[in-house]
């Protein structure tokens, strides 16, 4: 009987060996993926096990943490002026996960980032509790407040993005209607889940969770004429703002019998580009687009950042300038219609590139990441993204945009003692323009010494307003003005 006994002993050994191998598989080979599995609640438990690091604006934190009881999450995220800052911070909810900065820099905020590993090990040895680091943003509290209050007073849906043209630093990033991330930061089924459900798009037509500044694309309408003008200058179609263009009125779209119309009776026949921009002539810029052709327009638009997502580090949707279109479509696209669509961030980038003498800086909102002891772990250096137009052409375009504010459609944005350049837009949308148009305004401010501290893009979608009332100059320009003023005042 001993021979089979020895075999049985081997068999039993194999059973144990199978368990040992399996254990190595799940606890060593697959350990990481199981640890970070989306169903693994330990990830959130860890995230809220100690006070979370803060997100800082102008030296003050806009977030906080409070201790909670009765749940396995020790701390809960709190927000100061939550709705105002939500497009920047995103949310960190015990029940619903994290987004935007809260998610992207989660490692720093929880203190789990590899760059904090050495400190954590030291803390463990010395018995100190693990702490999260801080995320210092580039935002300007006064500008953000001006932007958010402006949108709120207006009452319609909309967004504002303000950039520092010289660096690309984001100064304001507001979206309205917004949400308070504090309202669902916990995991209570009675309060947090209710608040969360109420904010969902299917329950709330306003879709407050949508970050309109980065994630919504609107037809840019006439504000896109700035890009078309830049393309005309860069490709040598016209070399000065005051050179007469060859523009018939009425203008028939190429290869069609459709007439392109202007808004009202404005002096667009053979107008120079300055006048055309001042009155926002569809005919002039439509023809420029058609004359340059699709490829040159696409090339210029992409230099301004179209057709690419931006990572600020929060991702923005890609603005769209169509790559396949015929000649009449090219003409329509060149005045910001057809399939052209842009995020507010994209249009702010257009204004900032013009203001920065043609250089487009990469937009960013995180200035630096700090360790718990406030040491800098990572500093963002301004980075040039591209040069959509030469310095000389940029100055020509600046003078055109300044004329718009001086005596054109954008007079509402005038600021005493400061040179302001801008462009209004009233984009059509809906089938046969049935819906209320979007009101756009892009602008920049230039100080007497020639430097430009701020460029702004504002968009308002107002379903309730009277159709005639909607024009970029009327609704959007005053908000842009107050944002620019806020930035200028805070610089002084």
């Amino acid at each position: 009987m001993n021979k089979p006994l020895r075999r049985i002993s081997i068999f039993c050994g194999l059973l144990i060996l199978a368990l040992l191998v399996r254990d190595n598989w799940i606890q060593y080979v697959q350990a990481d993926s199981l640890q970070n599995n989306t169903h693994n609640r330990r990830v959130s438990i860890e995230r809220y096990a100690q006070p979370r690091g803060d997100i800082i604006v102008d030296g003050k934190s806009i977030t906080g943490s409070t201790q909670t009881s009765g749940s396995d999450f020790k701390y809960k995220r709190t927000y100061k002026d939550g709705p105002m800052w939500a497009p920047v911070t995103g949310y960190a909810s015990q029940a619903f996960g994290a987004t935007q900065l809260e998610s992207i820099d989660d490692g720093i905020l929880t203190g789990n980032d590899d760059r904090l590993f050495f400190r954590n090990t030291l803390d463990m040895i010395t018995g100190k509790e693990k702490q999260g680091g801080n995320v210092v943003t580039t935002l300007n509290a006064a500008a953000q407040k001006a932007a958010y209050d402006g949108l709120k007073t207006q009452g319609g849906k909309g967004a504002v993005v303000a950039l520092d043209p010289q660096t690309g630093a984001i100064l304001a990033l507001a979206s309205y209607p917004s949400y308070d991330p504090s309202s669902f930061a916990g995991n209570s089924t009675t309060t947090d889940t209710k608040a969360w459900t109420k904010l969902q798009k299917k329950n709330n037509a306003d879709d407050p969770l949508l970050n309109r500044a980065l994630r919504e694309t609107y037809p840019p309408g006439s504000t896109f004429k700035v890009v078309t003008a830049a393309a005309a200058l860069e490709n040598g179609l016209y070399t000065s703002a005051d050179q007469k263009t060859d523009s018939p009125l009425p203008y028939t779209l190429p290869d069609t019998h459709t007439e392109l119309k202007n808004e009202g009776n404005i002096p667009c026949k053979n107008a120079d580009m300055r006048t055309a921009l001042q009155y926002s002539c569809n005919t002039v810029f439509g023809k420029i687009g058609a004359d340059l052709g699709k490829d040159k327009m696409v090339k210029e638009a992409e230099k301004f950042g179209f057709n690419a997502e931006q990572f600020t580090p929060v991702r923005s949707n890609a603005a769209v300038f169509p790559k396949t279109m015929d000649r009449p479509q090219t003409a329509l696209s060149s005045i910001g219609q057809f399939d052209t669509a842009a995020t507010p961030l994209q249009m702010a980038m257009v204004a900032s590139a013009v203001a920065n003498d043609g250089k487009l800086m990469k937009p960013y909102m995180v200035d630096k990441l700090q360790a718990p002891n406030l040491d800098t772990l990572q500093q963002t250096d301004p980075q040039e993204l591209s040069q959509p137009l030469s310095s000389k052409n940029a100055q020509i375009l600046q003078s055109m945009m300044e004329t718009v504010v001086e005596k054109g459609t954008g007079t509402n944005a005038k600021i005493p003692g400061v040179t302001v350049g801008g462009k209004t837009g009233t984009a059509q949308h809906g089938v046969a323009n049935s819906k209320n148009p979007y009101a756009w305004f892009i602008s920049y401010a230039k100080m007497p010494d020639g430097s430009s501290p701020v460029a702004v893009a504002t968009v308002i979608e107002d379903d309730n307003a009277n159709r005639d009332d909607i024009s970029g100059g009327g609704l959007a320009a005053p908000i842009a003005k107050s944002v620019m003023e806020a930035v200028i005042h805070s610089k002084k």
């Binding site: 009987m1 001993n2 021979k3 089979p4 006994l5 020895r6 075999r7 049985i8 002993s9 068999f11 039993c12 050994g13 059973l15 144990i16 199978a18 368990l19 040992l20 399996r22 254990d23 190595n24 799940i26 606890q27 060593y28 697959q30 350990a31 990481d32 993926s33 199981l34 640890q35 599995n37 169903h39 693994n40 609640r41 330990r42 438990i45 396995d72």
Partner: protein, 474 residues
């Protein structure tokens, strides 16, 4: 028949090595470790959770030490030649199990869950300590009163009847969590399968010891395999049918696998015919696949095993997923006792899934160590079978050890996602009175067999004629 290594085989009488070391002192030394390690683990849990050495430490240490001491003294007195490793191994596992159950008692999450589900929470560790004491008492009773394991042979057929009753009984009681493996009398619930495991091993050993020649020799050779005669197939088909019935009516894959596996092992050892293994494997896989094709509970388990993280499975039960994440989060070294979140499993965290807490808090290193402890118990059991001098003892020892190994494999494999999950408990470490008591009884019987096997044969009676008699040896 075999012999121990130091028994000279050429002698006509089986005179063992006189004065073979009893190894009781080795056992005592190992027992000290088996008590001290869990005491340190207990202190570790207290320090990790409350930041202080738990107040119950002394009581716990004394309790476990007392149990181990009683076990040791009984063995020293009544089974002095028993295997020295089995008692310390069982004590260590039992002690670690107590620590982990106590650790899970401290979990606010499980306390809340109990209050929510049952209206009140009561700690399980004190009850488990009581069960352990009962288990050791049962162990001592076996060592003291079972003078020779061959006595059990007399009860071969009674064992069969008792085992059948125990196995069938749960059918008449309501299912708990989809498996009918409990009998409830008043507030007591007993898992009869745990006891049936031992009793049926007695039946298999007794029956096959008698029938083994018929089964082994009366067979036809066919393509290299010895096919048994039709009438000899009777018993194996009966056991096979029984295990299938368990699977169908009690929906308990694990128990079914355990009995059938144990039967095939004992049959193979008794007959030395490889063909039985082939038959056994074919029949069990055919049976399992057949039942799985229509039994929804089994299908559900198989789905949960194949796709633990799929939305459909997660909606039904996230146990397997939670268990896997628990193991994965432990990593190589574990979080340390008291610092993991294995209580997220919620249901049966300290019984069926207790191994996940070992995985998360002691890590790969701890789990491998515990698995090796189980491996050692099995190895000592098989060694006992090798050393046993009588066929019944051999069959019983190998039956019990292989049942133990299969149980560890089925439970461990289930919680680690190696095989579909089934409702069995990890011997000694899981919470549950039936399991602890039955496994102590199993260790008791193994030690009794090993004592008989290692005990030196009584010295020949002094013969006054010895001087005059000449024995002629070849």
């Amino acid at each position: 028949m075999s012999s121990t290594t130091n028994t000279p085989t050429h002698h006509t009488s089986t005179i063992g090595a006189i004065g073979a070391p009893s190894r009781r002192n080795t056992e005592l030394a190992l027992l000290v470790f088996a008590v001290v390690i869990p005491v340190f683990a207990y202190a570790n849990v207290g320090l990790a959770i409350n930041g202080s050495v738990p107040s119950g430490l002394l009581g716990y240490g004394l309790g476990l030490g007392l149990l181990a001491g009683v076990g040791h003294l009984v063995v020293r007195k009544f089974a002095p030649y028993a295997d020295p490793l089995l008692l310390p191994l069982a004590t260590l596992l039992n002690g670690l199990g107590l620590v982990v159950i106590w650790r899970l008692d401290q979990s606010p999450r499980l306390q809340q869950r109990a209050k929510y589900l049952f209206g009140a929470f009561s700690p399980d560790a004190p009850k488990q300590l009581l069960y352990s004491a009962l288990g050791i008492a049962f162990f001592a009773v076996i060592i003291v009163f079972l003078k020779d394991h061959r006595l059990l042979q007399r009860y071969t057929y009674i064992s069969m009847v008792v085992a059948l009753i125990l196995l069938v009984a749960p059918v008449f009681f309501p299912a708990v969590n989809g498996a009918k493996i409990w009998i409830s009398i008043g507030s007591f619930t007993i898992q009869p399968g745990e006891f049936a495991k031992i009793i049926i091993a007695i039946f298999f050993s007794g029956y096959l010891m008698v029938k083994r020649d018929a089964l082994a020799l009366a067979s036809r050779r066919f393509i290299g395999l010895y096919l048994p005669r039709g009438r000899d197939l009777g018993p194996i088909i009966t056991v096979w049918a029984m295990s299938l019935l368990i699977l169908i009516f009690e929906t308990d894959l694990g128990t079914s696998l355990l009995f059938f596996g144990m039967f095939v092992v004992v049959l193979y050892v008794a007959t030395e015919r490889t063909s039985w293994i082939v038959f056994g494997l074919l029949m069990s896989s055919a049976g399992a696949v057949g039942v799985a094709s229509f039994e929804p509970h089994v299908q559900q388990r198989v789905q949960a095993w194949l796709h633990p993280f799929s939305d459909k499975v997660m909606a039904q039960s996230d146990q397997v997923a939670q268990s896997l994440m628990s193991f994965g989060s432990g990593g190589v070294l574990g979080t340390g006792l008291g610092q993991g979140n294995s209580d997220l499993i919620g249901f049966a965290a300290n019984s069926d899934f207790v191994f996940a807490t070992f995985g998360e808090e002691l890590g790969l290193a701890g789990v491998m160590a515990v698995l090796l402890l189980y491996g050692l118990i099995v190895e000592r059991g098989v060694r006992t079978a090798l050393a046993a001098r009588d066929p019944f003892g051999k069959l019983l020892a190998v039956g019990l050890s292989s049942a133990f190994a299969i149980q560890v494999f089925v439970v461990g494999g289930g919680v680690m996602g190696l095989i579909p999950l089934s409702g069995m408990t990890m011997p000694f470490v899981a919470y549950g009175g039936s399991s602890v008591i039955a496994n102590w009884a199993l260790i008791g019987i193994l030690m009794r067999i090993s004592d008989t096997a290692r005990r030196p044969a009584p010295a020949p009676i002094a013969n006054p004629d010895a001087e005059m008699t000449q024995v002629v040896r070849p």
